[in-house]
Symmetry: C2
Subunit: 325 residues, 2 copies
Amino acid sequence: SRKKQNSVAAFVSGILQGNITLLSKAITLIESTNPKHQQKANEILELCLPHANNSIRIGITGVPGVGKSTFIETFGKHLTGKGKKVAVLAVDPSSSINLGSILGDKTRMEELVTDENAFIRPSPSGTSLGGVAQKTRESIILCEAAGFDTIIIETVGVGQSETVVHSMVDFFLLLKLSGAGDELQGIKRGIIEMADAIVINKADGENIQNAKIAKVAFNRALHLYPLKESKWQPKVLTASALHNSGIQKIDALILDYIALTKENLHFNRKRNEQNKFWLLATIDQQLKDNFYNKIKIKKALQEEIDNLETGKTTPFKAAKKLLEM
Amino acid sequence: SRKKQNSVAAFVSGILQGNITLLSKAITLIESTNPKHQQKANEILELCLPHANNSIRIGITGVPGVGKSTFIETFGKHLTGKGKKVAVLAVDPSSSINLGSILGDKTRMEELVTDENAFIRPSPSGTSLGGVAQKTRESIILCEAAGFDTIIIETVGVGQSETVVHSMVDFFLLLKLSGAGDELQGIKRGIIEMADAIVINKADGENIQNAKIAKVAFNRALHLYPLKESKWQPKVLTASALHNSGIQKIDALILDYIALTKENLHFNRKRNEQNKFWLLATIDQQLKDNFYNKIKIKKALQEEIDNLETGKTTPFKAAKKLLEM
């Protein structure tokens, strides 16, 4: 027997009432590769849009082992304890090659998962980071329409995913560890430049002293960069998510940032720039999808790749041939 | 009076005879945005292709101030002194925003410029790094057809340009300085991972001791990475391009690399992979050009950007509208 399908109107009215089941199902439509699902998702998105945008979007990154899950659990519980509604989404490039999502193992956020004011969703899978990111960005809209006022976007600290997450959030938080090993992984100039705050996690027990030393070093590093367009001077804080210390200060810091940037209009300017970026990214992605999804192109592309390997053609010649098909 | 135009056949036969004037003019056709010039450039490329590919392609990167121009001049003169023919090209993202090319000021390579076995060409300009890179890649083909057996591709050590250059060369050389300041800029994990050799330049006078210390540190850093697919263990060398010391060792190192990778077939495998990458990159670039160069899209895109700013549309809605035009 055919499963009863919810109408677009049922989805929208459910989402606007904060119905988590329908929110979740609508995100599944966004993530689907079925054109009918995509069409329905677009209609839902369009009707939810006027109710979106009223949130603080926070990006959180850090290398594996830095304690992202524990941090998000503790920070998320702190926020829901204040009456906030928190959605946690992820942009995980590894999920596209089936290495499993960061948030796939939800048991790592046991308390937040069962919190009725929290919504946790693993990373969508996809063939490209751009595709994954677009789906996440659309999911943000639905979460906001469902009344979530704080959106946390998690990503692992590898590759290009931080840049993509940075381009969809208001505030970007970099989690670090003190002590050996992490320094080498950590001094990626580009990521430090993107950070609005660096939080040195696991600052507890014997680590407290090391965390203080790391705080001084990172503060010095941050002061080498020119003041950002936001006029915000990025800060370094220490915390122990496991022992629930330092969390309140991080929350206060983010609120300071939001107050400053709403006051000096950077907040809206940044969202405008992000919208332009996403307009162009959406077009680029769609142009590629339209081309590579053609059945005759799929077949011919493989032939041309074979010809390249045997030296029978060149990249330019093969590209020209495919584009003229 | 109308300038006399060389025929495609005249270009090709001139290039194959090593005629620098015609090589230079053909590269100008590659770089032109005029569709007629592009058509002619494509015909020249196609006829030159069977005569290309017989070179060693070396990428050289390093932050401004590291002494790239002096290094390339000294290294280039060393090679031409051995009877090699050296072409120096550049991929300079800054040239696309009119900040001027690295090689724009040719006076910085006074001796190499007047060497009849050297050919120096500044970075093409363009609206995107991808576009600039494609033109450089096509220029490599023409230089090889003209008999240049060593192609040096220079890029500044900022942004994404190293990745692009890495994807078009056989050997990737990172220039560094010893001493304070450069460490912070230098420890970009991604770039160090790409390097087949790190050369600590300006190792002369009072710097010699610092250069030795830096050599030990970088050697240690390099050994933290797993052995590359090429089976090549990246090496650290010191040199002073200004005083012409350490250059012979660098040349020998590159020849060792080429011998090893030709023997274990990595050399050809890498060029195959690069060809596949460039096939897809060429298609993507062309899809975008075809779309954004339409006059009606140019006009409508600006309207949609204005609508985005005033909140009258969203990135998805605007993209859909433009794509359906």
